[in-house]
C-alpha cells in the first residue's frame, strides 16, 4: 500500500534542507511507520531530487517520524531555480512511498 493510506505529512524548509513529517492517522500504526519508513527507504525515494544525507527523528507520543533531508531544495529556498523552491510539495512525494 501507499504511505498515504495510513499517514499524513507536512513539509517545512530551512535553507537547502527540507523537513518532512510522517504522522500516523491511527497511533496503532506508528510501529509500522518506524519499521517501514526507514532512512534508507526515504533516501532512495528522494534520490532524484535530494543529495542527502537523510536523518530520522522519532516522536512516539504523537505517533510521528520527522525526516530531515539535506540538499533537497535546489541549493536553497532563496536562490533555487526549481518551480517549488520551498519544497512545499515534497510531503506528497513522501506519501507516494510504497510500504
Amino acid at each position: 500500500m501507499r504511505l498515504q493510506e495510513i499517514a499524513h505529512s507536512r513539509t517545512g524548509d530551512k535553507g537547502n534542507t527540507s523537513n518532512i513529517s510522517v504522522i500516523a492517522f491511527d497511533p496503532k500504526d506508528y510501529p509500522l511507520l518506524v519499521e517501514q519508513v526507514t532512512v534508507e527507504r526515504v533516501a532512495a525515494h528522494f534520490a532524484a531530487i535530494a543529495t542527502g544525507p537523510v536523518r530520522r527523528y522519532e516522536l512516539p507520543n504523537v505517533g510521528a517520524l520527522n525526516f530531515v533531508i539535506e540538499g533537497a531544495l535546489g541549493g536553497g529556498v532563496t536562490r533555487a531555480l526549481t518551480l517549488d523552491a520551498h519544497g512545499k510539495s515534497l510531503s506528497s512525494l513522501m506519501l507516494d512511498l510504497e510500504i
Binding site: 507536512r10 517545512g12 531530487i49 536523518r55 536553497g76 529556498v77 531555480l81
Partner: protein, 444 residues
C-alpha cells in the same frame, strides 16, 4: 490558574486581514500577534529603505493597523508584531500617526531596534555558512539581522506599550514575550520558556494550525477554508496550551492539524534552537478535548546557547524564465521539441547562463519524470529558467521562449516571461553579548 488568550493575526507578510479583525472582535484576546517575516523579507525591505529612509517596513502594516487598532483599543488587546522588518522605528512612527488619525490619543507604540548587526559582521569579518566571509562578499551584502529574543519586547510591554513593533525577532519570541510579562516567568526557567516557544511555534503560522496547508479532499477534509479562522492560544501559567479558534470561523483545529504544525520547520525535536532557550518538543502530547479544542502539553527546555542566528541578505544573481503551453494529441512531443529548440537557441546566441532547468509542468517539474503515471497528460507547459550575472542577460532567456510563438512547434499558447534579481540569504552565529537592543516608546 491564570490563563492568557493570545491570537495569531498573520502567518506571513501578505496574509489575509479579516481573520485578525475577527480575532480582535470575537477572540476574547489579551494579545494579538502578527508574524510577518520570512528568511529574506528584511533584505528586500532593506533595499526599499535604501531608496526611502522612511520605508522598509511591512507593506500591509498600515492596512492591518487601521483594521485592528480601534477594535484592540476598545477590547484592551495589546499588539506585538515583527512588521517593523528593516525599519521598526519608521513602522512605529507610522502606527502612531494612524492612531492619531483614528482618534486613539494616548496609545503607546514601541519600536524594538538593535537586530541590525551588519557593522559587527564587518568589524569581525565573520564567516558565513556559504563558506565566504563578509569581506569576500563585498558590496553584494544588503543586510545582516540577528534573531533577537523576547527580552526587549518584555521591556517594551512592561514600559506600558500597547503596540510593540520589532524587526528580526525570532518568530516564537513575539509570542513568548507576553507570556513572560503576564506570568512573571524568569528568563532562566528553561522549562517554561521551552513551553512558551512551543506556544509561539504552533501559533506563528496562523492558519497552518487551523486547517490551512492541510486539506486533502476525501482524506483530510476541512470545511469553509474560504473563511479560514486564525488560531487562539489559551495559555496557562504553567505553560500548558489549548489551541482553538473563534466559534463559527472556517477551518478546523484537530490533533492532526496541531501535530502537522508541531513538526513544521523542525529538525531535531529535542533541540529547537531559539535565542531564549533550546526548546524540546520530543515529549509533547496532543489531545483533542472538545470541538476545535486541542490541548498541548509536555514541552521542555534547556539553557540557551548564547549565540544568535543571523541572516545575511545579499544579491546572489539574476534569474530569467519563460513558459509556454501545448495541448491535445502529441502535446508532450511538441513540448520536448520546444525545450530542445530553446536549449539550442540559448547556446547559439551565447546567453551566459551558470545554471538552468528545462521543465515540463504537469510531467516532471516538481519531482522528476519517474513519478508520472497513467500515460501522458492532455496538456503540458514548458518552463525554461536560468541563472545569470545580469538582468539584461536574464531577459534573453524568456525572450527565447516567447519566440516559440512564431518560430517553434505548432500551437504553442500562453507564453509568459520574467527576469528578476535574486536576493538570497546566508547565515552566521553572533554572540548575544554583541547585540545591543533598544526600546523606544512613542505616544499618539
Amino acid at each position: 490558574m491564570k490563563t492568557i488568550r493570545v491570537g495569531s493575526g498573520a502567518g506571513y507578510s501578505g496574509d489575509r486581514i479579516e481573520p485578525a479583525v475577527e480575532l480582535a472582535e470575537k477572540g476574547g484576546l489579551h494579545y494579538l500577534v502578527f508574524e510577518c517575516l520570512a528568511e529574506r523579507t528584511i533584505a528586500l525591505a532593506q533595499q526599499v529603505k535604501m531608496k526611502d529612509p522612511n520605508a522598509g517596513y511591512d507593506p500591509l502594516l498600515a492596512a492591518r493597523m487601521r483594521a485592528v487598532l480601534p477594535i484592540c483599543v476598545g477590547n484592551k488587546v495589546k499588539i506585538v508584531t515583527n512588521m517593523g522588518a528593516a525599519n521598526p522605528a519608521a513602522a512605529a512612527a507610522a502606527t502612531r500617526e494612524i492612531a492619531r488619525k483614528l482618534g486613539l490619543k494616548g496609545l503607546k507604540v514601541a519600536a524594538v531596534t538593535g537586530d541590525d548587526v551588519l557593522a559587527y559582521l564587518h568589524d569581525h569579518d565573520m564567516a558565513l555558512d556559504n563558506g565566504k566571509t563578509i569581506a569576500a562578499m563585498g558590496n553584494s551584502v544588503i543586510s545582516a539581522n540577528a534573531y533577537i529574543g523576547a527580552a526587549p519586547i518584555v521591556e517594551a510591554l512592561k514600559g506600558g506599550a500597547d503596540v510593540v513593533i520589532t524587526g528580526r525577532a525570532a518568530d516564537p519570541a513575539i509570542f513568548l514575550a507576553p507570556l513572560i510579562v503576564e506570568f512573571g516567568w524568569t528568563l532562566d526557567d528553561w522549562t517554561l520558556l521551552g513551553r512558551g516557544v512551543l506556544v509561539g511555534h504552533l501559533l506563528e503560522c496562523a492558519g497552518q494550525v487551523t486547517g490551512g496547508y492541510f486539506a486533502d479532499p476525501g482524506v483530510k477534509n476541512v470545511s469553509d477554508l474560504a473563511r479560514l479562522g486564525f488560531p487562539i492560544g489559551e495559555v496557562r501559567e504553567d505553560g500548558q496550551l489549548v489551541v482553538t479558534k473563534v466559534a463559527g470561523s472556517g477551518g478546523t483545529v484537530t490533533a492532526r492539524t496541531v501535530k502537522e504544525q508541531l513538526l513544521y520547520e523542525i529538525h531535531d525535536p529535542k533541540a529547537y534552537l531559539q535565542p531564549d532557550v533550546i526548546a524540546d518538543f520530543s515529549e509533547v502530547r496532543v489531545e483533542e478535548i472538545g470541538p476545535n479544542r486541542v490541548r498541548v502539553s509536555g514541552g521542555k527546555g534547556a539553557p540557551k546557547t548564547g549565540f544568535l542566528k543571523t541572516s545575511v541578505g545579499y544579491v546572489d544573481s539574476y534569474v530569467g524564465e519563460g513558459q509556454i503551453s501545448y495541448a491535445g494529441p502529441n502535446a508532450i512531443a511538441r513540448a520536448r521539441l520546444a525545450l530542445e529548440i530553446v536549449r539550442e537557441r540559448l547556446t547559439l546566441t551565447g546567453v551566459d547562463i551558470t545554471e538552468s532547468r528545462f521543465d515540463m509542468i504537469g510531467v516532471d517539474s516538481l519531482h522528476g519524470e519517474a513519478r508520472t503515471r497513467n500515460g501522458d497528460p492532455y496538456e503540458v507547459r514548458i518552463r525554461v529558467v536560468g541563472r545569470t550575472d545580469s538582468l539584461a542577460e536574464a531577459r534573453r532567456i524568456g525572450d527565447e521562449v516567447e519566440t516559440l510563438y512564431t518560430n517553434g512547434p505548432a500551437a504553442g499558447g500562453g507564453a509568459w516571461k520574467s527576469a528578476r534579481q535574486v536576493v538570497a540569504v546566508a547565515s552566521a552565529l553572533v554572540p548575544e553579548t554583541a547585540v545591543r537592543t533598544a526600546v523606544t516608546i512613542m505616544e499618539a
